[in-house]
Assembly symmetry: C2
């Protein structure tokens, strides 16, 4: 006797993207859900997706790469995937049971079969908003934490600049820098975000880069002593303006370069000779290399949240139908805080 | 009774340079030498210059910088200065006496008064060619040594690429990399230099970058496994071609960017996002930070030279009259090996 069929709404990639990402590059379709009970013998789990995250690196996976990149390209016609918060519906794996709350890589759809549940993280603080596990308690939070503490090894009193500062990563980096005793300035592209940085996240100062005629001069004004640590989220022109303003021996954490992801050809950065003359270190990193420290991080960050030492702002849209537009908001700068999609509120 | 006057030929900067350095930017003049006996009470020394070095970074000092750079700009009308090999003629300093052979910063002239002789290094191996102290046993040698061993911390078996590989620094880096057990390829702009790299310096391979239509593809061919360490001497287009060819976790030592020094506006480097996706570290350094290790380095390198574990090629011109042309040869790529000027052969 066949089980009643369950439908599964999902967001697929329609085609490889060139230039600016548009809603037409994605499509919301409804298909039949996979069986909600894992097949006998499977060590996988079936999850119901509660929240899925919109993250800038997804754009990179929408371009076809001739050489393998650090993560596989998405495939036209197939469901998009990214980090999400999920409830386990059925499990063939000893470490998971129905009802468990987890976060990890999943599909942009209602139900997903996850064949390698070892990649999932348990949620140990369900008393905090579950959606936080797409952000401050998830991949972007660990990105901020590892990228700030592990890469540049910040010291009290250092001058820190963060671009894209109100985003999922930037807002956390700034607050961690304040906890460390650094002087912190952030940039963003809308006054609303600049105000958030100053009023809610406790940055020492912030500015709207779109209102600066001369970014290099603006940074010289904001950092007369120079920048010791630059947490790079945007790339391009901002990096060019930052380089001459770095202190001797300064460190640049290359976390992302969102300003470049939708360009057919990236902007050229001209001021790299400052890396020599100022003895700078510019370093990329991957959050994947830090997952073994996740649960320690989760405890620390959950503590900061409960003690209200750290604030957090999300931009939540409802339902997968709005997911493509939400992803695009990242690149137009319209997201205020961490952008995510609520797939189901249970 | 006045001492007989001694003349002092010198090379002065005529004007701040924009664009391509030309002989007209410098002038060889003859003035009266300073008193060859140090004045009573002085703690300085007077030196006779034997060899002066031509180094690419000098071009940077010929441009007027609005903000202080890591080293002062040259001053129009005043003598150029750089590293040289000198004989002490008279000394007011306890550590030096007439006849001592030293190397350090001096003027592009016959006689120079050095008021801070603490900055000079004694020459402990006068049995080796004295001119080597402008290169492999001097600043460029220590640059190669510190920049290769200290910055990327190379391991046996790693793949190393060196641009500007036949120059004063590059030829030494390549040979140190071979001593370390690395696989080493270098690039240069003339076949004569490419041949030197392979036949004399023991590089595993070498190529003429000017003969490659597609530098990125050429590097993919030479490094099918990727580049673990890139020793950067040239910048610009070469850096753009290297970035996609780096291995995961690769290190870029930013030693110099000679291709950029004569440009009114540096070339834009577009492939910086690979720093994120490949978790690269790009790091500048200054040889000045390593001078406390100089004498240890001198012993090690003198040993390599005597045991013929390391070869060395110089491009020596005779006399200060030819010094401006010799400096320009660095930037036209015409120098074969370490470029220097013999001021006096005694």
């Amino acid at each position: 006797m066949a089980a009643a069929t369950v439908s599964n709404k999902r967001v697929i990639l329609k085609r490889y993207v060139t230039g600016l990402l548009s809603e037409d590059d994605m499509e919301v379709v409804t298909v039949e859900a996979p069986p909600l009970d894992v097949p006998t013998g499977s060590k996988g789990v079936v999850v119901k997706n509660l929240y899925v995250s919109c993250d800038p690196y997804m754009r990179n996976r929408m371009t076809h790469h001739e050489l393998p990149s650090y993560i596989p390209d998405f495939v036209p016609g197939e469901v998009l995937e990214n980090f999400g918060v999920m409830k386990v519906i059925s499990s063939g794996h000893l470490d998971f049971k129905a009802g468990d709350l987890v976060w990890g890589m999943t599909g942009w759809e209602e139900y997903t079969v996850i064949n390698n549940p070892e990649s999932l993280f348990k949620i140990n603080h369900p008393e905090l908003p579950l959606s936080y596990y797409t952000g401050i308690l998830g991949m972007p939070g660990l990105t901020a934490y590892a990228g700030f503490f592990d890469v540049p090894k910040p010291k009290k009193g250092e001058y820190v600049f963060i671009s894209g500062a109100s985003g999922a990563v930037g807002q956390v980096v700034g607050q961690l820098a304040k906890i460390t005793g650094c002087y912190v300035i952030g940039s963003a592209g809308y006054d609303e975000k600049v105000n958030l940085l100053k009023s809610k996240f406790g940055f020492d100062d912030a500015f709207n880069y779109k209102k600066e005629q001369d970014l290099e001069a603006a940074l010289r004004r904001y950092f007369p002593e120079g920048i010791d640590i630059y947490y790079e989220n945007v790339g391009g022109k901002m990096l060019d303006a930052v380089l001459p303003n770095m202190s001797l021996g300064g460190r640049i954490v290359a976390c992302g370069m969102i300003s470049q992801y939708n360009l057919e050809q990236p902007e050229g950065v001209r001021n790299l000779y400052y890396i020599v003359t100022k003895r700078l270190r510019m370093e990329g990193f991957h959050v994947f290399d830090y997952y073994d420290r996740y649960y320690r991080f989760e405890e620390e960050m959950a503590g900061y949240l409960k003690e209200e030492k750290v604030s957090y702002v999300e931009d939540v849209v409802e339902g997968l139908d709005t997911a493509p537009a939400a992803l695009i908001r990242l690149f137009t700068g319209r997201s205020v805080g961490k952008q995510l999609v609520a797939v189901a509120r249970e």
